[in-house]
């Protein structure tokens, strides 16, 4: 009897993990794997929103190679990484160091720095559009101090940099929280020992704090570069649906949205663009992880 129970349990064991994982697998399959497979398959067709497509091989990829707007999108998405990631790796760390200390009223500052994270991106975007408008608060102040009005929302580069500034401003609090958790794990003794050895605050920052949170910095770098490459909302809200003057501020994800949506959307071509975004994003992650491993070695 006992033996048969054991053998039954043994027979059933392999099933149990799958049953436990089933809900997660189902969700992953329906919401991640199927759309992923669908996008991959559509990338090789000329499918439109309402018209079933035919297999066209690599035609969509050849077309995007010759599409000026694709290169504009790739340039802007890459520039976004260059502009945003260093700021989001360094500034939240400094902010975390500032609010790390337990002094009266510090909770207020922590909350204040985190507020932009919870604010809706649409609301944030609209507020910044009002602020940076030709007749907005920022330009009024600039005019008052004699600098004159600046076309933050009409010049292609200023517009892109303004959107980057909003991304950095909105992301500071989020990454600050990640750094705060990492900083809490840095042994106080290390700082004390360094102080005893005569290291000042800046020296301690570079020789104790930075090495201690280096893996967190890599994580923040990876997360923020993926997010930066896939930027959509900030640029869409500030540059408008056409992607800024002459579409020069269009990012790759904006191009996917513009090409693939609506009743006349080119689903096949937009899918090919999405595949490129996916490949670049994965490559980016691998690059960051490789750099991390190399430093560890």
């Amino acid at each position: 009897m006992a033996l048969s129970t054991v053998s039954r349990v043994r027979r059933q064991l392999p099933t149990s993990p799958w049953l436990f994982a089933a809900p997660g697998l189902l969700i992953t399959g329906v919401f991640i794997l199927y759309p992923f497979g669908s996008t991959l398959a559509n990338a090789f067709t000329d499918r439109r929103t309402l018209i079933p497509g035919h297999f066209v091989g690599f035609a969509n990829f050849r077309e995007l190679w010759h599409d000026d707007m694709f290169w504009t999108g790739l340039r802007n998405s890459t520039l976004y990484i260059v502009g945003v990631v260093p700021a989001l790796v360094v500034l939240p760390l400094l902010l975390a160091l500032l609010v790390q200390k337990n002094i009266p009223g510090i909770t207020f500052f922590r909350s204040a720095f985190y507020t932009p994270v919870v604010a809706s991106i649409v609301v944030v975007g609209l507020i910044w559009v009002w602020l940076l408008d030709e007749r907005g608060l920022v330009n009024s102040l600039l005019e008052t101090i004699g600098v004159g009005r600046i076309g933050f929302l009409s010049d292609q580069w200023l517009l892109l940099f303004s959107a980057m500034a909003v991304t950095v401003w909105k992301g500071l609090g989020y990454y600050m929280i990640i750094y705060l958790a990492a900083l809490a794990n840095v042994p106080r003794e290390l700082h004390e020992a360094a102080s005893v050895d005569g290291a000042g605050a800046i020296r301690r920052f570079f020789t104790v704090t930075v090495p201690a949170v280096r893996s967190t910095m890599v994580l923040v770098g990876a997360l923020s570069s993926v997010a930066a490459f896939k930027v959509f909302s900030e640029v869409y809200l500030m540059a408008g649906p056409s992607g800024g003057p002459a579409g020069e501020d269009t990012t790759l994800v904006m191009l996917v949205q513009r090409t693939g949506t609506g009743l006349t959307g080119r689903v096949g071509y937009a899918s090919a663009l999405s595949v490129v975004v996916f490949v670049v994003t994965v490559a980016l992650m691998l690059l960051v992880l490789r750099a991390d491993r190399r430093e560890d070695a």
């Binding site: 398959a41 079933p52 009409s154 002459a246 090409t259 949506t261 609506g262 009743l263």
Partner: protein, 430 residues
């Protein structure tokens, strides 16, 4: 139960290959074009951002229809304005398009091409004479025979201008521009007198502007765009002059109708197109502007102002064709349209309705003056937006226009490029 690697691989392959099966041709499991049967059954009616302000009106329409045709039940749903086209395309692609749908001509074109809009020339020809001929024709698609939506309400509007800004620039506030030459001259003077701080216009020229200027937008067969002719280049060259002189707002390159409306409200631009609906908005949001508001006719070189047309389409796949056609006609008949027009500043597309005293008799108020002028101009107005002009084409034109205004391309090159891109998109539409 062990899941073998082979089974797992098969499942993974299915996940990847399954979507390919969607690339085949769609089946036809729809209803018929015969609307002569008994009017009965449950149907769904979708409107475009109308619930917030007109809930009781539409509930009345629905209950009136259900009373007239016992055995019918209409489920009314409303979608927000933002992303309406995306919602329709998702429903159309997913086979969940409502039976009766509020559409505009550019939305109905791809639906008709995909075989999802019922041809009313076949299913509802008897109602054709009830509508203005131009309005009925507005849902006809070049390259296709048939009419794919009942015309519903029309709209057009005057050009509003800020009299106080005109005065500041030394312009006569009671003599607004009536021709394009006058408009461009006044705009340059206004920019010069205010050191470029006040622009006259806030938007780059759209396809409607080219049409109103007298540019041939498409060839006669509707198979290719043609707005890169000499007249089109002339208009864009004029706009370039305005942009350089800051008579066209510097943010016009990224402006939306909403943002330019706000600029007019704040006195940053001197003129803005609008409708009778805007007067109430001016009164509430910018009382100072309202005191200085000037109202003039749309400027046009063709003698025809631009109009916007709304339509009501019947889903060709509906299981209740008779009820859907009857309801779409009921919503758009003269009585319902007149009743709706008295609730909001829109204009009926039914024959004879614009001769109603409501659209012809002055009562001394600005609202009535605007309404009467608009109703008069609608009698020979034109919907300049080609029905095949998609969102992607609008973006292509807008971006090329922006390049010309920035001086990156000549107006001719920009329009040639825009036409080329629009033609490619047109061919891809099939």
């Amino acid at each position: 139960m062990r899941i073998s690697r082979r089974v797992f691989a098969a499942a993974a392959a299915a996940v990847v290959l399954m979507p390919l099966s969607a690339c085949g041709s769609g089946g036809d499991d729809g209803g018929s074009t015969d609307a002569s049967g008994k009017v009965e059954g449950d149907i769904t009616f979708q409107t475009w951002n109308l619930r917030a302000n007109f809930k009781s009106y539409f509930e009345g329409v629905v209950s009136g229809f259900e009373k007239k045709y016992p055995g019918t039940h209409v489920k009314w749903i409303d979608q927000p304005a933002e992303g309406y086209a995306d919602k329709i395309s998702a429903d159309a692609a997913g086979g969940t398009l409502p039976d009766v749908v509020n559409v505009s001509p550019d939305l109905v074109a791809p639906l008709a091409k995909a075989g999802l809009a019922l041809d009313l020339d076949k299913a509802a020809a008897k109602y054709k004479s009830e509508y203005l001929p131009g309005a009925w024709a507005s849902h006809q698609i070049p390259g296709m025979t048939g009419t794919y939506a009942f015309p519903w309400y029309l709209n057009t509007g005057p050009l509003f201008y800020n009299k106080s800004l005109f005065k500041q620039a030394g312009l006569d506030p009671d003599q607004p521009p009536t021709t394009y030459d006058e408009l461009f001259a006044d705009a340059l003077q206004l920019a010069q007198k205010t050191d470029g701080k006040v622009a006259t216009l806030a938007n780059v020229p759209t396809v409607e502007d080219f049409g109103r200027y007298g540019v041939e937008l498409m060839n006669k067969a509707g198979t290719a765009f043609a707005f890169n002719d000499a007249k089109g280049i002339e208009l864009l060259t004029k706009y370039k002059e305005l942009y350089d002189a800051k008579a066209l707002d510097p943010q016009a390159l990224t402006a939306t109708p909403e943002s330019s409306g706000k600029k007019f409200l704040t006195g940053a631009v001197a003129m803005n197109p609008g409708s009778a609906l805007d007067l109430d908005n001016f009164k509430k949001q910018a009382p100072t502007l309202y005191k200085n508001i000037g109202i003039t006719d749309q400027i046009t070189s063709t003698g025809h102002v631009n109009m916007y047309v709304m339509g009501v389409m019947v889903n060709s796949k509906t299981k209740h064709t008779a009820a859907s056609v009857a309801f779409a006609h009921y919503v758009t008949d003269a009585q319902q349209q007149m009743s709706f027009a008295k609730k909001v500043a829109i204009f009926p597309s039914t024959a004879g309705s614009l001769d109603d005293p409501y659209f012809t008799k002055e009562d001394g108020t600005d609202e009535t003056r605007v309404r009467i002028a608009a109703a008069k101009s609608l009698k020979n107005a034109v919907n300049y937006t080609p029905v095949l002009f998609s969102e992607q084409m609008k973006t292509a034109l807008r971006n090329e226009v922006a390049k010309a205004l920035q001086g990156k391309e000549s107006p001719k090159t920009a329009l040639d490029n825009a036409v080329k891109q629009c033609d490619t998109l047109l061919q891809q539409q099939g």
